[in-house]
C-alpha cells in the first residue's frame, strides 16, 4: 500500500499547460477524487501517476520513492479506463488473467485467482465468453477485475462509470466502495460528476484549467468553497452568485444589490466581520439554493425576485427566479407550489452566506 505525493507536478504539451505546478498528498488507503470539467487536467494528472504520460516538471512520490522515471508496468498501479480498454480478441478469462500472465504467475494460481475475482465481480458464468460479446456493464466489471487481480497498491480509475446506465452506475458506486474496503488500496478516481465524487471520495481535489482549486473532504468543499469556481461547480443546482456592493451603515453593514434590494446585517455578526476583510467593496454574494427562504414580497431584509419557472425534480422542487435580471434558484420540498410570475422576497440566512472578491473570485475570510 502506498501514499502518493505530487509536488510541483507540471505537464506541458508544447505551449499548452495541461497541469500547472500541482501539489497534492494522497494518503495511504484513501479514496481521492480528481474532480473538474473536461480539459481541466485531471486525466493528464492520472496518466502521469500511472506513467502513461511523461512528466514535464516536478515529482511523483509513492511513499518516499520517486517513480517519475519508472516505467508504468513497474509502478504497481491498476488502471481502469473510461472506455474499458478490453482486449476484445480474448475471452473474459484471458482478460482477467492478463496481468498475472504477464507476471509469469503459475497456471494453477492464475486459475484460482481469476475464479475468485470472477465470483467477486459476479462474472462466473461469463468467463469463457469472447469479451466482445459482453454488455457495457459487464465490460466495465471485466476492466475492474483485470486491474484489481494483481492487487496493485494504487488503483487509478478514469471516469469508470460515465458510460454506464444510471441504475448500474449507482450499483457500481457501492461496489467500488466495497472493493476499496476489501483491498485497502489507495484509490484515485477521475470524474466530472460531483455527485460521484461527493458520495465516493474521502477527499476531493477540484481542478480547473490545469490548476488545483481546492483540496479537502466533500463537506469542506461543499460548505467552504475557496473560490467562485468551486462554489459554482459543486452542488446541483449550483450556488446562487450575485454581485453586490458593501456599504457601512453606522454599526451595521449593508449589502446593496441595486434594484434587487438591500440586506443589512449586524456589524458584529460573523458575516460582517468577514466582509470587512474584503479587499474591495465589490463582492460576489453566494448562497446555496437549499438555504434560501421564500417570503412575501416587500419584506425588509429580503431580495426581490420574480418566479419564472418551476421545475419539479422528484424529491424536490426547484424554483427559478429572476433577481436583478439574473437567474436565481431556490430548492423547496416536493409539494411546494407557487405560480409563475409571483413576486417574492428572498431571505438568505446570514450564517450560510458566502462572500467572494469580485476581482479575484477568491472567498473572503473563509476559514
Amino acid at each position: 500500500m502506498a501514499s502518493i505525493r505530487l509536488s510541483n507536478l507540471t505537464k506541458r504539451f508544447g505551449p499548452f499547460t495541461a497541469v500547472a505546478a500541482l501539489d497534492l498528498l494522497i494518503p495511504d488507503k484513501e479514496f481521492v477524487a480528481l474532480l473538474g470539467p473536461s480539459g481541466c487536467g485531471k486525466t493528464t494528472t492520472m496518466n502521469m501517476i500511472a506513467g502513461i504520460e511523461s512528466v514535464t516538471d516536478g515529482q511523483i512520490l509513492f511513499d518516499d520513492r520517486d517513480v517519475k522515471n519508472l516505467p508504468s508496468g513497474k509502478r504497481d498501479v491498476g488502471f481502469v479506463f473510461q472506455n474499458y480498454a478490453i482486449f476484445t480478441h480474448m475471452t473474459v478469462y484471458e482478460n482477467i488473467a492478463f496481468g498475472l500472465r504477464v507476471r509469469n504467475v503459475a497456471r494453477s494460481e492464475i486459475d484460482r485467482r481469476v475464479r475468485t475475482m470472477a465470483a467477486l465481480m459476479r462474472l462466473e458464468d461469463r468467463l469463457e465468453w469472447p469479451s466482445g460479446k459482453l454488455s457495457v456493464n459487464e465490460l466495465q466489471k471485466v476492466a475492474i477485475g483485470r486491474s484489481a487481480i494483481t492487487e496493485p497498491a494504487i488503483f487509478l480509475l478514469d471516469e469508470p462509470l460515465s458510460n454506464l446506465d444510471a441504475a448500474f452506475r449507482a450499483f457500481m458506486r457501492t461496489e467500488l466502495k466495497h472493493l476499496q474496503h476489501q483491498f485497502q488500496q489507495t484509490m484515485v478516481y477521475v470524474t466530472h460528476d460531483q455527485i460521484e465524487a461527493m458520495s465516493l471520495a474521502d477527499r476531493i481535489a477540484v481542478m480547473n484549467l490545469g490548476v488545483l482549486q481546492q483540496y479537502g473532504t466533500p463537506a469542506e468543499i461543499y460548505n467552504r468553497p475557496r473560490n467562485i469556481f468551486v462554489a459554482n461547480f459543486m452542488g446541483s443546482p449550483s450556488m446562487n452568485l450575485l454581485p453586490c456592493r458593501l456599504v457601512s451603515e453606522g454599526s451595521a453593514l449593508r449589502f446593496s444589490f441595486g434594484e434587487a434590494g438591500l440586506l443589512d446585517v449586524a456589524g458584529d455578526s460573523a458575516l460582517a466581520r468577514r466582509a470587512r476583510s474584503a479587499p474591495s467593496a465589490d463582492v460576489i454574494f453566494g448562497v446555496r439554493p437549499e438555504d434560501v427562504e421564500i417570503t412575501q414580497a416587500g419584506g425588509a431584509n429580503a431580495l426581490k425576485g420574480v418566479v419564472f419557472f418551476v421545475e419539479p425534480v422528484g424529491a424536490r422542487t426547484v424554483v427559478h427566479l429572476k433577481v436583478n435580471g439574473k437567474v436565481f434558484k431556490v430548492t423547496k420540498e416536493k409539494r411546494f407550489k407557487i405560480a409563475i410570475g409571483t413576486a417574492v422576497g428572498l431571505i438568505p440566512p446570514v450564517g450560510k452566506c458566502h462572500l467572494f472578491d469580485a476581482a479575484s473570485g477568491d472567498a473572503i475570510g473563509a476559514g
Binding site: N47, I52, F79, Q82, N83, Y84, H89, F98, V136, L139
Partner: protein, 286 residues
C-alpha cells in the same frame, strides 16, 4: 419511401445490371476455356455461349505444349510461369505486408516519421513506366533481372505504400487505451504489439494481404520489364499465347485465366470471415 414497389424494382434492377456487367465476361472466359479450337476462333463465324463439344484441350495444350486440335506446338508450357507468379507474388506480398505493418505501427503509435506517410506515396505519384525504366536499369546492373528475388523485391516495394497506408488506418483506429492498459500491467512493447494490437487488427491484416496479393498477382508491366525467360509470370506468359498462324489463342488464354483466378479466389474465401466482419473492434463506446 423505400417501401414503394417501384424503388424495389429499380434497386434490384440496378443490382442485376451490375452483376451482369461483372459476371458475363468471367462466365465467357469460363466457357471459352472448355471450347475446342474451332469454337473459340471467329474463323468459323459461329459463336455460342456454351461449348458444343467441351474439351480439356486448352488445358492440355498450355501444360504439355501440344494438343490434337492445334498444329503448332508451344515452346514454353504454363507450369513455370505459374510457379513464378506464385513465388514472386507471395514473397512480394510478405515483404510489403511485414514492412508496411511495422512501419505503420511505428508511425501510428510513436509519432515518428512526420513526412514518411506521404513520402511513401512518392512512388505512386509518377506514371509506372517512368519509374520502371530506371528500376529496370538498376536491376540489370545488380544482376536481378529475371530472378525470383529481383521480381519479389520490386513487388514488395511497389505495393508497400498500399500495405503501409491500409495498416496505418487500422492501427489508428485501435484505441491507445488498449495498449496503455497492457503497459500498466507490465507488458513489454514488443509483447503488446504481438499479443494485443496485432491480434486486434488481424481482420484488417488479412484484408491487406489479399489486396496486396491481388495487386502483385495481376501485375503485367513490371514482370514484362524485369523478366526474360526463367521467371516470366502468368500475365506475361499469357501474352505469348499467340502464334503467327493461329493468331490469338483465346481458348488457351481463357484456360490460363481460369487457373490464374484460383489463388485470389481461394484466398478470398479463406479469409471471408474477416472480410465480411470488417473492422468491428467492438467493445468501445465513445
Amino acid at each position: 419511401m423505400t417501401g414503394r414497389p417501384i424503388f424495389f424494382v429499380i434497386r434490384y434492377g440496378l443490382i442485376l445490371l451490375a452483376l451482369v456487367i461483372v459476371l458475363i465476361p468471367i462466365l465467357w472466359m469460363g466457357t471459352m476455356a472448355f471450347k475446342p479450337f474451332p469454337e473459340w476462333t471467329t474463323a468459323t463465324g459461329d459463336l455460342t455461349w456454351l461449348p458444343k463439344e467441351p474439351t480439356w484441350g486448352n488445358f492440355e495444350y498450355i501444360f504439355t505444349g501440344q494438343t490434337e486440335d492445334l498444329l503448332v506446338t508451344l515452346d514454353r508450357t504454363a507450369e513455370r510461369p505459374i510457379l513464378a507468379s506464385l513465388v514472386t507474388a507471395v514473397l512480394g506480398t510478405a515483404i510489403a505486408v511485414i514492412v508496411g505493418t511495422l512501419g505503420a505501427y511505428a508511425v501510428s503509435r510513436f509519432k515518428v516519421g512526420n513526412n514518411l506517410p506521404l513520402s511513401v506515396l512518392q512512388l505512386r505519384l509518377f506514371p509506372p513506366l517512368a519509374v520502371m525504366i530506371p528500376v529496370m536499369i538498376m536491376w540489370a546492373s545488380l544482376g536481378m533481372v529475371d530472378t525470383w528475388w529481383g521480381l519479389a523485391l520490386i513487388y514488395g516495394i511497389v505495393t508497400l505504400p498500399f500495405a503501409f497506408w491500409l495498416m496505418k488506418t487500422f492501427f489508428d483506429e485501435v484505441p491507445i487505451e488498449i495498449e496503455e492498459a497492457a503497459l500498466v500491467e507490465g507488458c513489454s512493447r514488443i509483447r503488446i504489439f504481438l499479443k494485443v494490437t496485432l491480434p486486434m487488427v488481424k481482420a484488417a491484416l488479412a484484408s491487406t494481404c489479399l489486396f496486396v496479393f491481388i495487386l502483385n498477382w495481376s501485375d503485367y508491366l513490371i514482370a514484362l520489364l524485369l523478366t526474360r525467360k526463367d521467371w516470366v509470370t502468368i500475365p506475361v506468359y499469357m501474352n505469348s499465347l499467340a502464334s503467327a498462324m493461329g493468331g490469338q489463342m483465346y481458348g488457351c488464354k481463357a484456360a490460363l485465366g481460369l487457373i490464374a483466378a484460383i489463388p485470389p479466389v481461394v484466398f478470398g474465401i479463406a479469409i471471408q470471415k474477416y472480410l465480411v466482419r470488417g473492422l468491428t473492434f467492438g467493445a468501445l463506446k465513445q
